[in-house]
């Protein structure tokens, strides 16, 4: 076997993955150690989401699905928190939450601890509530749409729903002015279109992982979703609501690491074409 001498292009193409990972880790850590404070432009979908909530008449009731799993918390958690801030700041809106993800109730507790609703004078059971994780995903959505009390008689802590004033006169999909879903699963984001929008025409705001946005776009185009945002846009929501938190903090890191990706694509292609044109074909 003849040992071929490696050209510079070969070497460039064969950078060990450990080196690539090392560079990636550094580009995550550096902006965290030395924050730059890059600007963040607001995109139209986030603005539309904000306006939808802003235009809700006082006394409206919203259904919120904590449908994300712990894996997606870094992305969707900040969005959920920012939107709660907005709703509580605006006032006069009741928020009933449920979960189609089995981690939802625990993540709800995390979000509420971050929001601290008492700073807005909001109380559990009066202004907001969580009726628990309900199994079955689409079956759960359909069941709750028909009748909450026929599905579950208690909140997530096991206290009967009728002991909470927020639940007075709230029992089915028609009682809700708006549906919000935060999710890491296509079954959830699409399920709500099928089980609530298609059945009851409830206006629907949907926040998903950025990677899920493309498959959800046709629903937005067809008017089945009022606004479709990715959790990665939480920073923009925080800016609109004036409660800067985790979302905005990631802006520097995301910028630097994305620039790294673009650089990697460019270098990778230079190596590829360099090899091709220097006659290094196999």
């Amino acid at each position: 076997m003849v040992k071929e001498s490696k050209t510079i292009w070969d070497r460039l193409e064969d950078i060990p993955r450990e080196v690539l990972y090392g560079i990636l880790i550094i580009s995550f850590i550096m902006p965290m150690l030395f924050p730059i404070g890059f600007p963040v432009p607001i995109s139209p979908e986030v603005q539309r989401w904000y306006n939808t909530i802003d235009n809700l008449p006082s006394g409206s009731v919203i259904m919120v699905d904590f449908g994300y799993s712990g894996g997606g918390e870094p992305e969707l958690g900040p969005m959920a928190v920012a939107v709660y801030h907005h709703i509580f700041k605006k006032g006069g809106i009741k928020v009933v939450a449920m979960s189609t993800s089995n981690e939802g109730t625990l993540l709800f507790d995390k979000a509420i601890a971050e929001i601290n609703p008492s700073q807005y004078g909001k109380q559990y059971g009066v202004d907001y509530i969580h009726i628990g994780y309900i199994t079955g995903t689409e079956s759960a959505m359909a069941a709750v749409g028909k009748s909450i009390r026929a599905t579950t008689t208690t909140d997530y802590k096991g206290t009967p729903l009728d002991q909470y004033s927020i639940m007075n006169g709230v029992n089915e999909a028609k009682d809700f002015a708006l549906l919000i879903c935060y999710t890491t699963g296509g079954d959830q984001s699409e399920g709500w279109v099928r089980q609530w929008y298609t059945t009851y025409q409830t206006p629907y705001l949907c926040a998903v992982l950025a990677m899920m946005v493309p498959t959800m776009l046709p629903y937005q185009k067809a008017g089945q979703i009022v606004s479709l945002v990715s959790g990665a846009q939480a920073g923009q929501m925080e800016l609109l609501v004036h409660v800067p938190a985790r979302g905005i903090k990631s802006a520097d890191v995301i910028t630097i690491t994305h620039l790294l990706c673009i650089a990697l694509v460019v270098v990778g292609n230079i190596a590829y074409f360099g090899k091709k044109f220097s006659g290094g074909k196999q």
């Binding site: 993955r17 690539l20 990972y21 990636l24 890059f38 600007p39 963040v40 432009p41 995109s43 139209p44 799993s69 712990g70 894996g71 918390e73 870094p74 089995n102 981690e103 109730t105 625990l106 507790d109 309900i134 199994t135 079955g136 079956s139 759960a140 359909a142 069941a143 028909k146 009748s147 026929a150 599905t151 997530y156 802590k157 096991g158 059945t199 950025a210 946005v213 493309p214 498959t215 776009l217 046709p218 937005q220 185009k221 990665a232 920073g235 802006a251 520097d252 995301i254 910028t255 994305h258 620039l259 790294l260 990706c261 673009i262 990697l264 694509v265 270098v267 990778g268 292609n269 590829y272």
Partner: protein, 219 residues
């Protein structure tokens, strides 16, 4: 008789249940209360699904239990640990409840951290994938690459702020080619899902029956 009972009856149940939900949605027949029937069955389904949530743990007990009994080299201590973790979760979760402080502690210390990390670790592979594989080999991959770079640039908040020209580009890519291609795929997939539903209802898709005996396969 036996095959009818074991194989045909479940399919009849599937058909009848599915039909109930379809009828409830589309028609109203005076004198027949589809809605309350469907509501009841729907709520039954939720409880039944709750029972199925135990399958994962039972499967692991059976499968990992085998490793432990056989003392599979390099594996059985891990299998044992896995079963211990399951037991810890069950004991704390059932005895003190899922909204208790103890359970929240357990969840945050293990499952939450682990699942967040496991899924994020794919970001590393993506980086080397981007470096090695995102190549303009032909028109198709070139298109993918150009769109990918524009979207990457737009997703970096500061790049979008400093180079605002890419904001409308990305918006167009998202609203026109991406949405339209996804819509085409969606229409096809909807027909596929409906066809699957129909095959299931008429007993031509029997995966849910589990293992079939030779006689049942012939049926």
């Amino acid at each position: 008789m036996s095959i009818v009972f074991k194989r045909t009856l479940p399919i009849v149940i599937v058909f009848a249940t599915a039909l109930l939900f379809i009828l409830e949605f589309f028609v109203t027949i005076p004198g027949i209360d589809f809605k309350s029937a469907a509501t009841t069955v729907n709520n039954w389904g939720i409880i039944l699904t709750a029972f199925t949530l135990a399958f994962g743990a039972v499967n692991l007990f059976i499968f990992q239990g085998r490793h432990i009994l056989r003392r599979t080299k390099g594996q059985w201590p891990f299998s044992l640990w896995m079963l211990i973790v399951i037991v810890i979760f069950i004991v704390i979760g059932v005895s003190s409840g899922v909204s208790s402080g103890q359970y929240t502690w357990l969840y945050s210390a293990s499952y939450f951290a682990l699942s967040a990390t496991v899924y994020s670790s794919l970001g590393f592979y993506m980086t080397s994938g981007i470096y090695r594989a995102l190549r303009a080999k032909n028109i198709e991959s070139g298109l993918l690459l150009i769109v990918g770079i524009i979207a990457l640039a737009r997703n970096a908040p500061a790049v979008a702020a400093g180079l605002p020209i890419i904001i409308p580009w990305e918006a167009w890519i998202s609203a026109v080619p991406t949405t339209s291609a996804q819509r085409g795929i969606m229409i096809g997939a909807a027909l596929g899902a409906l066809a699957l539903g129909i095959r299931t209802m008429i007993g031509r898709e029997t995966g849910f029956l589990g293992k079939l005996t030779e006689a049942e396969k012939g049926g």
